[in-house]
Amino acid sequence: MTLPPDYVEYPHRKRGMDHDRYPYRILPRAAPVAWPGGARVALWVAVHAGHFPMDMPLKPFIAPGGMERPYPSYWDFTQRDYGNRIGIYRLMKAMQARGVKGTALLSGAAAREYPVMMDDIAAAGWEPACAGLDMGHLHHGGVAEADERAWIAEAAHLLRGRFGDAVTGWHSPAHSESAHTPDLVAGAGFTWTSGWGNDDMPYAFATSAGTLTAMPLSQDLADQRMLFQQNMATEEFTTAILAAHATLDAEAQATGSGRILTVPVTPWVMGQPHRIRAFGAMLDGILARGGVWSATGAEIAATWRAQQP
């Protein structure tokens, strides 16, 4: 059997992207951005606070951190759930002690499952953002658009029922989306999104329902990937974060434009007793270099947007 002739036709072979969500942008040529107080680097701690139902579907793929053992996996469920009862409180304490803000990327279901945690997130001054309904509702190309719309509406409803208009950010769980997800997210009133980890600075992301601000949130430099999927040592992650900061800080000094250091952390990973001191030491290392603006995702997105032509 041989391939059909159209296998080597390239309808999108042209200058720029092979889709119309955003134009190609060269990072070193992006318009400079100034952060408050003349800071060089905006520090964005993005806390992945997802809820993993024990009966979550395992197809078409298991979300990272999903139930990997036979049902009923109390092992997987309770290890994740630890993050929402213990780990997140260790992160809060370490961050508050250093005056560092955070954005909680919350499953909508978290508002139902952990109402007291929502109060504590509000009291800590963290931004509540929406990371889908739960980790068992992944957005992907096999989901009917009507289902996806309903999940987004329900997740937004659950979080806005607790936090109101403060919920402006969307993170697609497991960095997974269908072709429609950005349109539906914008249609539900979200203004920033972080599902696409394809830049170090924000950019405008076009949808059928308006423009989203795409925020940098790495799946490569992330505690869950490095420490849980790749089994690296805790210090390999914290060292990598400090290396990223050194690079971004140097670029900010060289170009005069602010940069963003995103620190993606997961309460059931980084909030473990044997890791939390390394997390604190990492924040100390960043703050000691000076020129840091600790901010939420919404604050960074708004500050960037205000300086766009």
């Binding site: 009966d55 109390y74 630890y82 409180y89 007793p273 044997h274 890791r275």
Partner: protein, 302 residues
């Protein structure tokens, strides 16, 4: 299918009612050696294949068998050196196969609790009657072999089914380790009886660390010590629990036993440590703190 085990309530880790351990200790440390037997020719289970290779899986079987022949004896001596007792997560058939191991545990004043009959007989798909029968067999076997009461439970290979905790509570078990949601003991909700959870660990457990997570012996020491240091510090506010789950076929290997020695040296160099057994932790919690925790939950964890 259940979306949640449904056995415990959310207890945010702030402003919890204080746990006070005996003698002003900040932390209860307990060691849970898993003394297991994996059968050469186990029956199949629909949800989990006991061995990855066709039977007999000599590679898997013989690795684990090392634990009972060599690793256990080395591990027990190292623990005795530091005066640290074990609370044995016991496949109770070991009492029949290798009674010398049980004699050594008793000589060292270790607790025996049940980790099922064999590590190759999973609870996945067991009727409640079958689970009940197996729990009773565990109770009788442990009593016969050691004179001890059966108080604790860890389902073999963490293979518990939806009803297991209910059956455990009905059978009068004091504490379960099937959930790793906390660093302190917590109340559990079951349809009858009274069962509590005390912390076991998958974070400082030698199986995930050495088999799955590519951890060297040196890193094992660093992780265990860091876990202890943090929980020791937090224990100044309210008592915490550190469990070190051990498997003789891993930690008892010649190239790793010094790591256990180093961790125990670090732990026992601190003065506010309660070197306890699982039973002692559960009983102290039930006697002094369970009601406070239940009231706090009922008040909405203010």
């Amino acid at each position: 299918m259940l979306s949640n085990p449904g056995h415990y309530d959310h207890m945010p880790y702030r402003r919890r009612p204080k746990i006070a351990w005996p003698n002003g200790a900040r932390i209860a440390v307990w060691l849970a050696p898993n003394i297991e037997h994996y059968e050469l020719n186990p029956p199949p289970n629909a949800r989990r294949n006991p061995w990855p290779r066709p039977l007999p899986d000599v590679a898997g079987y013989s690795w684990r068998d090392h634990g009972n022949r060599a690793g256990f004896w080395r591990m027990a001596d190292t623990m005795a050196k530091y005066g640290v007792r074990g609370s044995v997560s016991l496949n109770v058939a070991v009492c029949d196969h290798f009674p010398e191991i049980i004699e050594r545990c008793c000589e060292l004043d270790w607790e025996l609790f049940s980790h099922g009959t064999y590590n190759t007989r999973y609870f996945y798909g067991m009727s409640e009657d079958m689970q009940r029968e197996l729990i009773r067999d565990s109770r009788e076997t442990i009593l016969r072999a050691s004179g001890q009461r059966l108080d604790g439970w860890l389902t073999p290979a963490l293979s518990n089914d939806e009803t297991t905790q209910h059956v455990l509570a009905e059978e009068g078990i004091l504490y379960t380790l099937d959930m790793t949601h906390d660093d302190q003991p917590t109340p559990l909700n079951t349809r009858a009886g009274r069962l509590v959870s005390i912390p076991y660990s998958l974070e400082v457990n030698d199986v995930p660390l050495f088999v799955s997570r590519n951890t060297s012996a040196d890193r094992y020491v660093a992780i265990c010590n860091a876990q202890f240091d943090q929980l020791y510090e937090e224990g100044a506010e309210s008592g915490t629990v550190l469990c070190l789950p051990l498997h003789p076929y891993l930690i008892g290997q010649p190239h790793r036993i010094a790591a256990l020695d180093a961790v125990l040296a670090h732990i026992t160099s601190h003065d506010k440590v309660w070197l306890a057994t699982g039973r002692e932790i559960a009983q102290h919690y039930i006697d002094h703190h369970l009601a406070d925790h239940q009231s706090w939950i009922a008040e909405g964890t203010p």
